[in-house]
Symmetry: C2
DNA sequence: ACCGTAACACTAACGGTTAGCTTTTACTAA
DNA sequence: TTAGTAAAAGCTAACCGTTAGTGTTACGGT
């Protein structure tokens, strides 16, 4: 599936990475709002249009690994052990992601995100996308036997859990508490599994 | 509390309303993206800066009654009959709001919103604000006896219910189904009420 | 060696948004 | 009434994210 990338692909990936690294460094040094796209482009030694060829928006520069997140959610559902119940699998993945976001080095980044309305808004809509794709993954699992609406709802709840726990004083305890609620909500929608 | 407004306040409100009405009309006529702020200002016969004195952004022109929504959620909690359980009160209000949004005349507006990424994103962050204020209202109710986190979580779930039901094929049934789940989630967090 | 095309550069512009400053208009106190 | 004030609205000019249009370079397959 993944053939060895040629020089062209490597250069493209390198350019993308250089832009993302430069942007993040500048944002953290001077503040997100104080750094313009033109600054990023100049510091990365590329044209402004090249920045937008790799990233859809200024905010996307900060959430570079967006798609990894999305896949981790869906894989927690599709890739779980046979007959493993859904909710514990979801819980495990959410806990892992929350811990990843609240790790030591990530603090300045999240401080920056929380400090910028534009970034907060972007992250919110990102989460909604993640919830949608998670819902699709759940609805595609024949073993669940739930309505589409129940899947969509639980998907939202799980993403809410991630969002709430990430900002909580005690993230682990928050995941515990919220997933007890989600478990109850899930069980009332049908038989076990 | 609300003294009779003087001429100044009335004129200000009139200007605001004229801008909102003009904007909505133009948006529906020509499409949201095809109408610029300068067009709105010209058609409402005000300066561009006046538009932004009344509305924080172009998107805010569409969600003029934002704050009414927010208050209806919180009042569903704070203004419910003594000893009335929380969840049914929330459910009633969510159902009313969903019906209001899916009523006949509202269809073109929501078609416009769903057709514009900027508007969708704005609505999402609006919902999050509503969830926050709803959570505050819930946490302030001494009769509930729940953790802050449980309140925040249920608040999010309730807003999710609104969002999901509004877009559902059968909004009433969706509210039913989702609130059965919310009820179960709520009950697992503590004693009745 | 050659061609197609992906990646990037450059310029110029568009549209939302804001700053700075002036003008008008409603309220208030003498 | 009148003068003083502050709110509301206006005007100009710009900033900044983003995009279109148009070349230019360099990789990859033939």
């Amino acid at each position: 599936m993944t053939a060895p990338p040629g020089r062209r692909a490597r250069k493209k990936a390198a350019t993308r990475q250089k832009i993302a690294d430069t942007a993040l460094r500048l944002f953290l040094e001077r503040g997100y709002d104080a750094v313009g796209i033109r600054d990023v482009a100049a510091a990365a030694d590329v044209a402004v249009t090249t920045v937008f060829a790799h990233f859809a928006s200024k905010e996307a520069l900060v959430f570079e690994q967006d798609e990894d997140f999305e896949q981790r959610f869906t894989q927690a559902v599709t890739g779980r052990a046979p007959h493993e119940p859904l909710i514990p699998a979801l819980r495990r993945e959410v806990l892992a992601l929350v811990r990843h976001c609240t790790a030591e080095g990530a603090a300045p980044i999240w401080r920056m995100i929380d400090g910028s309305p534009a970034l907060r808004q972007y992250e919110e809509s990102m989460r909604l996308r993640h919830a949608e794709s998670l819902a699709v993954a759940m609805a595609a699992d024949p073993g669940l036997a739930r309505t589409t609406m129940a899947c969509r709802t639980i998907a939202r709840f799980a993403i809410d859990a991630y969002s709430l726990a990430r900002a909580a004083a005690d993230p682990d305890a928050a995941v515990d508490e919220i997933f007890r609620m989600i478990e109850a909500a899930w069980e009332v929608t049908g038989p076990g599994e």
